[in-house]
């Protein structure tokens, strides 16, 4: 009986129940994606007559090439490109301005430092969703509708990234900056030669998160792009549904959904490795 006491000993039925529970969870997570994948490999009539098959069909190539090259409103290849520009633009932009301002607030004592810090903090309380109409007006006044600048810039200011780098810079030993000063490094030289290379794991980890954040944006591109050729893929899917009672082109829509998931999923798989590298790095 003692053996059933648990965590320490995991054998017999309990062990298999644990696996069964986890497999159930994995199936719950995977089922919607599996169905989408199956739907992207069959023909429209197969879906239109429920129930649709639960195993992939033979039209994968056909559906995906149709989606990529012509899509419904705009070729999905173009939307993928727009999404990539937006996601990379947001991630790079956020990281760049956050690195600079975190460097300034950690390594300098300048007038207005505390005020600036609090201003950044306040932006945490202003997600796009609560200021959509006026932000839209600002972007419109700048002529940023249907432009990459309009997709990227309003989302670039980031309190979280600034705080993260500030936090990291705080843990960099003071002696390194002192050694650099004794070695004759000016502030920007120290920033480029020492601080940036030391932050690369943090930069990479943050890039992963911000890339996904940018890629998955929905509301903002929905407002700012009216021209289908500027649509991002995540918001473009919804635009593929017909407005009336017509039957949606499910195979193409589902192929697009799968395509919309692939880049961020690949990045997440990369992130796992990054986590491990980050751990090893801090171990030294």
């Amino acid at each position: 009986m003692a053996q059933q006491n648990g965590m320490v000993e995991k054998r017999g039925a309990g062990h298999w129940l644990t696996h069964a529970g986890l497999i159930l969870g994995v199936l719950f997570i995977f089922f919607p994606i599996w169905l989408a994948f199956v739907a992207s490999t069959v023909t429209q009539p197969e879906i239109a007559r429920p129930p649709m098959p639960l195993l992939p069909g033979g039209h994968l190539w056909q559906n995906y090439s149709k989606a990529l090259t012509s899509g419904i409103n705009a070729p999905v290849a173009l939307m993928l490109f727009n999404s990539a520009v937006m996601a990379i633009g947001i991630a790079v932009g956020k990281i760049a301005i956050s690195l600079l301002s975190a460097f300034a607030i950690v390594y300098f004592r300048f007038p207005g430092r505390h005020l600036f810090f609090w201003l950044i903090f306040l932006t945490l309380m202003l997600p796009v969703e609560v200021r959509i109409v006026p932000t839209y007006e600002v972007a419109a006044n700048f002529g940023m509708l249907n432009s990459y600048g309009g997709l990227i810039l309003p989302l670039v200011a980031s309190a979280t990234a600034t705080f993260l780098f500030r936090q990291f810079f705080m843990t960099v030993p003071d002696e390194l900056a002192e050694a650099a000063r004794v070695d004759g490094a000016q502030p920007m030289r120290f920033f480029v030669d020492i601080l940036l290379p030391m932050s690369r794991t943090n930069i990479a980890a943050l890039f992963v998160i911000l890339f996904i954040y940018g890629w998955n944006q929905y509301l903002w591109p929905l407002l700012i792009t009216t021209d289908p050729s500027m649509n991002t893929i995540v918001m473009g899917i919804k635009q593929m549904f017909p407005s009336g009672d017509d039957l949606a082109d499910w195979p193409v829509i589902m192929a697009t959904s799968i395509l919309a998931m692939i880049p961020p999923v690949l990045v997440v798989i990369g992130m796992q490795k990054l986590f491990i590298r980050g751990l090893v790095e801090s171990e030294k």
Binding site: E175, A179, A180, R181, G184, D193, P197, K284
Partner: protein, 332 residues
């Protein structure tokens, strides 16, 4: 090569003054060690010489030039940090070469200087490694190498050995001393370890509460401490302090007597009860409880008799070994 002079140097952090006016005159090529307990201001003093802290008042001069407002890099100094402060993402070579690169030294010369330093420090096999791939002693050497390649006028050492284990510390102590002799560079070295201070210094400065209590050659400081603090801080086991009244003398203050100067004798100036002894091989330290309950220590060579625990013994010493300190702690 240069001389280094501190004149009435003071430092305040906000309203609190932590260095209360220190004067030091370091001659060209001299090795000066500043020793003191933590919080005595020794590191702050060193950092002011480096230019990493501003000087509140007084002057710091290197080779006759006042450097109070001069940036660290323009002071012609090099510094070895307690945690080495090696750039973790750079190879050993790049760590040593970084300052020279910034100074736009020609590449062949950088290579020659790094090679020379690496040879001196036996770092040649490790030049392409990263700091984290090195042992503690090797990292310590890289930090030294980084200081050497700059060929500075003054070396500054901020407790450079305190992160090493005891055995390595002895070895590196010797290496630092040899290196400094060979290079002949004026050096200022901060430590809390009196053994380091005694063994390395040409002259040592004992600091206490932001004041330089005594400056002098190690043995002179040991033999002739100017304050009760110095007498208590320098020397291990520490000096015994007794109230004059215990010895039938008049006056305030205290009388210091070093453990090695006290003998166990059939009759003497003081009786005490043996509490416990520590046999260290070549010597044995006998700890005794004095008449007022305070602990006293007597050093006995190996082979000399050791009293039983609880035994009553008499302590004797030559009167001229007594060090008399006034109520202000100064030597009377």
């Amino acid at each position: 090569m240069a001389s280094l002079t501190l004149e009435n140097v003071r430092k305040s952090f906000g309203p609190t003054e932590v260095i209360h006016g220190v004067d030091i005159d370091v001659k060209d090529g001299e090795f000066i060690v500043i020793v003191g307990p933590s919080g005595c201001g020794k590191s702050t003093l060193l950092r002011m010489v480096a230019g990493l802290e501003t000087v509140t008042s007084g002057t710091v001069s290197i080779d006759g030039r006042v450097v109070n407002g001069v940036e660290p890099m323009d002071r012609d100094i090099a510094m070895v940090f307690q945690n080495y402060a090696l750039y973790p993402h750079m190879s050993v070579f790049d760590n040593m070469a970084y300052g020279l690169k910034i100074a736009k030294t020609p590449k062949p010369e950088i290579e020659a200087r790094v090679a020379q330093a690496a040879k001196m420090l036996q770092l040649e096999p490790y030049l392409q490694r990263r700091p984290r791939e090195l042992s503690g002693g090797q990292r310590q050497r890289v930090a030294m190498g980084r200081a050497i390649v700059r060929k500075p006028a003054v070396f500054l050492f901020d407790e450079p050995l305190s992160n090493l284990d005891a055995k390595l510390r002895v070895q590196m102590r010797l290496e630092i001393k040899t290196l400094q002799r060979d290079l002949g560079v004026t050096s200022l070295y901060v430590t809390h370890d009196q053994v380091e201070a005694m063994t390395l210094a040409d002259r040592m400065i004992v600091m206490n509460g932001g004041v330089a209590d005594q400056i002098g050659a190690p043995l002179e400081v040991y033999a002739n401490p100017q304050t009760a603090f110095v007498a208590g801080f320098i020397g291990s086991p520490p000096t015994n302090f007794l109230a004059p009244a215990m010895l039938g003398q008049s006056g305030d203050g205290q009388i210091g007597i070093r453990p090695e100067h006290v003998r166990l004798a059939p009759s003497g100036q003081l009786t005490a009860r043996a509490a416990y002894s520590e046999a260290l091989g070549a010597e044995t330290l006998v700890h005794l409880r004095g008449p007022n309950g305070g602990l006293l220590t007597v050093r006995q060579d190996a082979g000399e008799p050791i009293p039983e625990e609880g035994a009553e013994v008499s302590l004797d010493w030559d009167v001229d070994r007594e060090m008399r300190f006034g109520p202000d702690g100064r030597r009377a």
